[in-house]
Amino acid sequence: MLKRLFPHPYLSLTLVILWLLLVNDATLGTLILAGVLATLVPLLTQSWWPGRPRIRHPLGLLAYAAIVLWDVIIANFQVAWIILFMPAARIRSAWVVVPLDLTSPEAISLLAGTITMTPGTLTADFSSNGRVLLIHALHAPDPNAVRDAIKTRYEARLKRIME
């Protein structure tokens, strides 16, 4: 019964927090409206999201977010340096093909988003069976090193957290 009413508990929780932040106060009326939204929205959108993501270690997800945020800040300076000072002819762009070990769609989209936000790499496409990512690297003299870095630094962690 509870499972039927809240098909996505994490989504419901996110919606409550989001609504409270959006309205910017925490009176009883806002809380009730947030509760109504958190019940209705997952129910109405259920048919587009049949599965339920499994998060084995919610704390691990927080640690992962911290790592990604740190990488984003550090590597943004590298991209800024490339844009500002590297002559256009010397930038070695490359396509990188990354076969995935992850299977759940949520984990794969999380990995794809991470790759795009980490500067220097950008998820450009995925294969039609959804098991291989096509990545464009802004400046990668050694494309294989980029692939290995993605697999060890991000994918292994995500696999531990989500699957």
């Binding site: 959006l22 844009i83 794809a112 496409d125």
Partner: protein, 120 residues
């Protein structure tokens, strides 16, 4: 304490402005269409994110209470930037990149962009 916070906010603002400018400059400078995708999706997002966080901190400092909306906007931009980048990249693949320049998938199938349209 207040002086320290002011320095932090000022640093965030300057950093944000610089990254926003670098992102837009990269859009003009880089030559390859795929390279141009890199600059705005990252540098600009980081720049705007820094500016938004600085705005939220400054509101606290001015004693107006924290306005969560700018934090929300920053989070929203951070979450949507990869998606718009993915869609733009797929459009590039379809319209401007030669098929022979792309690597193979290694699975036998093609990349998802070139999949046939669903039958109506």
């Amino acid at each position: 304490m207040t002086a320290l916070a002011e320095y932090a906010i000022a640093a965030l603002l300057i950093l944000g402005g610089l990254f926003g400018l670098i992102g837009s400059f990269g859009l003009l400078k880089l030559r390859d269409p795929m390279q141009r995708l890199h600059a705005p999706t990252k540098a600009t997002t980081i720049g705007v994110g820094a500016a938004l966080i600085a705005a939220a901190l400054d509101m606290v400092l001015l004693g107006q209470g924290i306005t969560w909306q700018s934090v929300l906007v920053a989070a929203f931009l951070f979450l949507t930037a990869p998606l718009s980048a993915l869609f733009l990249a797929k459009t590039h693949l379809l319209r401007t990149i030669a098929r022979k320049d792309l690597p193979k998938t290694g699975t036998g199938g093609d990349w998802a962009t070139f999949r046939a349209k669903p039958q109506k």
